[in-house]
Structure formats: structure tokens, C-alpha cells
Symmetry: C2
Subunit: 138 residues, 2 copies
């Protein structure tokens, strides 16, 4: 894993819009959703540019990539580590506003002997919206 050698990062309209789209949603979208949104502002942007910039944003710590079991990566404009909940029914991703539990890292370090630098915690289940929708009204 070579250090991403990237000289100067130039400011472009495209990257600006991509980042603002990402910051402007809490839906944890995939690249294609970002593409569709950005196209409303920049109709000629290409999907390749979306991917290139999402990668730059992730590498530079301005965004976070979420790779679940699903086929495509999802992106989060909030680069601070935080927990997520994935609804197994509608596939939506929600933020879980719990404080980071660094004690877990200490426990893992003690029990394994490895140097733990970070952790990732995800919850799975059925979200509020889906469980309400399945309450059959009489």
C-alpha cells in the first residue's frame, strides 16, 4: 500500500458540487446516486469523474466509504468515525448517535495482542419506517 502520491489538489467545480451533494444528505448514497444528483447541477459530468473524486475525498479524509455486503460502496460526507444501522428490509443506512466506545479497542488489544487503531461497528435489523409499514392496520 503505497502512500497516495498526489501532488497538488486543484479546486474544481466538479469536486465542489460532489462534496456539497455528499454533505447535503444523510442517506449514505452510492456513487450512482451522487452522479444523478450532481448531474442536476452539472449535466455533462461523467461517472468516472464521480468515482475519481469520491476516491480523492475519501483518501484525503473529507468523506468516508462504507462497504457493506451490498454490491456497491456507499459514501458518507461525515468523515468522523461513527456507528451505522442498516435496515435489512429497505437497505437504508442510518447514523447511530452513540459515543465511540474506545474501551472495545483496549479489550480487543488485550485479548489479541495486536495493535488496534480503530474499530467499526454496525447494527442490523428493521428500521422504524419498515416496522411501522408492516403493522397491518385493521
Amino acid at each position: 500500500m503505497v502512500t497516495s502520491r498526489r501532488g497538488f489538489i486543484r479546486h474544481t467545480k466538479q469536486r465542489e458540487v460532489i462534496l456539497s451533494v455528499l454533505r447535503g444528505t444523510d442517506t449514505h448514497p452510492d456513487a450512482d446516486w451522487v452522479y444523478q444528483e450532481v448531474r442536476k447541477v452539472l449535466p455533462n459530468i461523467s461517472l468516472g469523474t464521480i468515482y475519481r473524486n469520491l476516491r480523492i475525498l475519501v483518501d484525503s479524509g473529507e468523506a468516508m466509504e462504507l462497504a457493506f455486503g451490498s454490491s456497491s460502496s456507499r459514501f458518507d460526507g461525515d468523515a468522523e468515525n461513527h456507528y451505522h444501522f442498516i435496515c435489512e428490509q429497505c437497505d437504508n443506512v442510518y447514523d447511530i448517535p452513540l459515543p465511540l466506545d474506545h474501551g472495545l479497542e483496549n479489550e480487543a488489544e488485550e485479548v489479541s495482542g495486536h495493535q488496534v487503531a480503530s474499530h467499526r461497528l454496525e447494527f442490523y435489523g428493521v428500521c422504524k419506517t419498515c416496522s411501522n409499514a408492516s403493522d397491518s392496520p385493521r
Copy 2:
């Protein structure tokens, strides 16, 4: 997400060997590693069969699929939920023998209002082997 409709599951040599390879390692291999191992026993097996059976094993709860940021999925012959440590240097995956912390699920449920059914916890850092290797001997 339709319920996996799969009538009867026939016993085949291929699936038997695939499962025993998976059970016989703690390296959390990807499909291609499994393929190479199984070929030592069944030289004519195809990669498609590996993928097909890994999916069947995962769907039937006999194995676990681990999708990290990396390009390909990794598989674990231990289907019981447990925690993992991923070395950011060598990319190896290790089991973390901590008891499942179901309290986390309760906390998440309270703070979010979603029905939490399970959780997944992963630790990242540098493993024992890699940190020893980088201790420059004088």
C-alpha cells in the same frame, strides 16, 4: 429480497470439499484461495462451482461472508457471529475472542428507535506479526 427458494439440497463431493477447506483454515480466505485449495483434491472443479457453493453455504448458515473494504469477499467457516481484526498492513484477518456485547444492541435500539437484530464489530490496526517485523533489529 425474496426468500431464497431452494428446494432440496443435494449432497455433492464438491460442496463437501469446499466446506471442509473452509472449516480447516482460520485465514478467512477469499473465493480464489478456496478454489486453489479445493483443486488439490478436485482438479476439475470450476470457479463458478466455488462461488455457487459458497453462496449456498452462506445462505444456509453454514458459513459467513465478510465484506470489508477490499475488492473481494472473504469467507469464514465459523458461522457464529464473532469479531474480527483486520491488519491494515498485511491484510490478514484474525478472530477476536471477545464475548458478543449484546448491550451495544440495546443501546443502539434505545438511541435510534430501530429494531436491532444483530451487530458486527471489526477492529483495524497492525497485527502482532507485522509490528514485530517492523522492529528494526540492530
